[in-house]
Subunit: 505 residues, 2 copies
């Protein structure tokens, strides 16, 4: 990466006179309020931009800039490029891999898109919507809903993440099974290049075969190729009814048979298929009993006594949505459950009978990360394999981890229908979680990633690479992939202005 090295050297050589000139220029461009400088170590507002929310990454930024328009973004990038200062684009700052945190140099500019938060247009006939990058995901969802439509991207951080960040990281979430990831929900982009030019790719077309797919190149590029400033999004008719069921399965093979059966009956009405191993459900029952009330209720209904109920090996949450009546979708889902029980694929099943029960089922699923946190620290993974390889993955990973770290335990749950599992590992009780993490994180990762990779899988299904997995990617990606990524980065951002040192191995 000689060009990036040269740029870094160039930056260092310039010294503070140039830095002051850049800050002056940014101040006169954006106004005082849009330029944040650190006032001291206790500057909480400033610190928020340079620390990730999980507290894993702590950077040190030269300044935070908060432009209010695409033109201001373009001028900011041009000024930074002229002064050899690099930029870390930032949306809602909810990432899990440190991709939006500046490095420790104190020489990078954090460019926050949060002030660019307008819904620009909704086209009901075309089922599309144009928004600025800084729109909160929840606001995008609400604007679609207000037009009688659905923007289906949905994830835990939707109240604080931005659509620009969702697209820069190709966010996944709970409705991928039916609607795809952020990538599949984007029709067009506007972005500012590393040279501070604006790419006007804000089309709202379902079909457009005019050259290289620059939109998809930007999506998932984690701010290293361009700063996404606006997006055209794909909307869907809003389902008239939703329902869900909890199902107990003995094995992952049974879960997969249930998935095939649910697909065959529900087709596109199947919107979610989440699986939870016994331990995450047990942890939720222990640490967050209120959120686990769906689990308590359905186990009680089967066994008569909540406290004595045994958590089944696997709990599946099936989510279904339909343009037809609630009765119709309930009937279809009930058919799935009855057939699965008859075929011995499920030991127990419970269909949501009310909106409250529906929400309780999802509350159980969504409480797992909090229950994990209450339990202790874990080595976390976001792996993906073909769904057919899920049983092999879990079986092999459990066995290998027990062999390497006897007494360790795992918390396995996730988007089974997408082949995406969060497979988190806690050390044996003989060791503190912190010590285990410090001593063995790398070895645990290696075991888990080796198995996922051997089964045709990925080390990052939805969280991205950022800084957390950059070395893993470098080691595991085929050489041609690394060569292509570097060549593209160098071709489009030769000076390394945009989020250097992130993502690209």
């Amino acid at each position: 990466m000689s060009a990036a090295d040269q740029a870094a050297t160039h930056r260092q050589a310039q010294g503070s006179a140039s830095t002051e000139a850049l800050l002056d220029a940014l101040r006169s461009l954006l106004g005082d309020a849009a330029l944040l400088l650190p006032t001291g170590p206790d500057d909480a507002e400033f610190t928020r931009y340079q620390t990730d929310w999980r507290g894993r990454y702590q950077g040190h930024a030269l300044a935070i800039v908060r432009p209010a328009s695409t033109d201001e973004v373009a001028q900011t990038v041009r000024l930074c490029a002229q002064h050899g200062v690099s930029i870390v684009p930032q949306g809602g700052h909810t990432g899990l891999v440190g991709g939006g945190v500046p490095d420790a140099s104190g020489q990078q500019i954090v460019l926050s898109l949060q002030r660019m938060d307008r819904i620009l247009a909704v086209d009901v006939t075309n089922l599309s919507m144009t928004v600025q990058a800084g729109c909160l995901l929840a606001h995008v969802q609400a604007a679609a809903d207000a037009a009688g439509l659905l923007f289906p991207l949905s994830l835990a951080s939707e109240g604080s993440c931005t659509i620009g960040g969702n697209l820069a990281t190709n966010a996944g979430g709970t409705q991928v099974l039916r609607y795809g990831t952020a990538r599949e929900l984007c029709l067009g982009l506007e972005a500012v290049t590393a040279q501070g030019e604006v790419w006007h790719g804000l089309k709202s077309l379902r079909k457009d075969n005019t050259g290289y797919d620059l939109r998809n190149l930007l999506i998932g590029s984690e701010g290293t190729l361009g700063v996404i400033t606006a997006a055209s999004l794909r909307l869907y008719p809003r389902p008239a009814s939703r329902t869900a069921a909890l199902v107990a399965c003995e094995t992952l093979e049974q879960c997969l048979a249930l998935l095939a059966r649910a697909r065959a009956v529900l087709d596109a009405q199947l919107t979610g298929f989440e699986a939870m191993h016994r331990r995450p459900v047990a942890l939720t029952l222990r640490h967050l009993p209120d959120q686990a009330r769906a689990a308590r209720r359905w186990m009680a209904s089967a066994e008569g006594d909540t406290e004595q109920a045994t958590v089944p090996p696997w709990t599946v949450l099936i989510d279904a949505a339909s343009m037809a009546s609630a009765a119709q979708v309930q009937q279809s889902l009930e058919q799935v459950l009855v057939e699965a029980m008859a075929a011995g694929e499920a030991q127990q099943a419970c269909l949501a009978q009310s909106q409250d029960q529906y929400q309780a089922m999802w509350a159980l699923r969504e409480a797992i990360p909090l229950a994990e946190k209450a339990e202790g620290q874990m080595v976390k993974h976001d792996i993906g394999v073909p769904t057919s390889q899920i049983p092999a993955f879990v079986g092999q990973a459990e066995a290998a981890l027990q062999q390497a770290f006897p007494g360790c335990s795992t918390v396995c749950f996730g988007h089974l229908g997408d082949g995406n599992l969060h497979f988190n590992v806690q050390g044996p009780r003989s060791q503190s979680d912190r010590d285990f993490l410090v001593q063995h994180e790398h070895a645990v990762n290696r075991i888990v990633y080796d198995i996922a990779q051997a089964l045709g899988g990925t080390i990052s299904a939805e969280h991205g690479i950022g800084q957390l997995k950059q070395q893993e990617l470098a080691q595991r990606q085929p050489a041609v992939g690394t060569h292509w990524m570097r060549a593209i980065k160098l071709a489009l951002d030769p000076a390394g202005t945009l989020n250097p040192g992130r993502l690209v191995p």
Copy 2:
């Protein structure tokens, strides 16, 4: 494009000794049978590879090579790169824009993938399938069907086009509304780079956030960045039942209201929404009465006399598929039709009552290109606009063309649900079609493309760029898009080995 120019100069300077050495090396690599050399002007087999099927483009190749494996493709590319000879990758050779036709130099190698036609694996649980690039689309469909599943890509040339060509051009077709274009149906690729290396990107994952989206960069790149050698494809549960209806509408606004209504009732069961203006239906009635029997039948049923029946301004073909029974999907579609008639959005409607009637409805739609051909030569377009802009596009284009060429006529039909129209223009009767084409094609294109572009549309929704629309793209694409395309091409294929002079403006 200085690197490409340099490469061309380099090639010319090498002369025939080097060419002979290359051919010898290819012969010893691939065997005699896999290397075709021209035997004379009447060599029909050779000519087939260097002429497009519509007879619009006639190239002159040095040789045709037909490797049998990915390794042979890689070695072929390496040899050609070493000798400074460029390559035109070719699949089923059914393209419409000249992207797979060699130039006139007699110095390019046509690399045909047709011998690499194996289905490598079908994973029923993961709903995926791995195939070599030279598989005929119809064979891919059949292999999915044999596994009880659906590969939904469907287009007129499916009996002769290959999946590699479909992906290299991001083919569309008749089921995009539900399932997307070829891009959305691909999970992974194997490809040979311009340096003759193999990119092993043949994953079968729904979610994989590990770096730049190289798969989508290759899809639609028309053989200019890599030679696709294999693909992992997304399969779907196979619908249990299909049905269709023909609907008469007075206006395009009515067609769009019908589309919204069909979506609201059918949701993902809506698999196709095709519209045909009066003239293409009338031309089919005139030239291909057998294929127009669905049109005759339904107009007769409404008016009592087939011959006197008036073709409605717009005929819509709605296609629906479902995992449920034929009765259920018929009932849902009937609900759409009854509601649309009651709301005054449709003047007449006819639901297919048998498989034979279903096929007759599609035969009408699919006969249009043949009826056009029987009628005469036309200036053809494959435009896309947001569906909400379809009435404006057709209204403005009709008016502007009548003003510029009084007495001209249009043939307008296509994938209305995708915003993609084939909008073809025939000159006034006072002039031969041939003369009109020669004299006015450019002016007609300009009128049609200016209007599509002003409405946020595209000059190529599904056919691609190739050589046919390269100049148009150069003139109409935003400067940043052209800059990025050139930079990426130069970064990945600096010597211009892969399909030089195509697609990239």
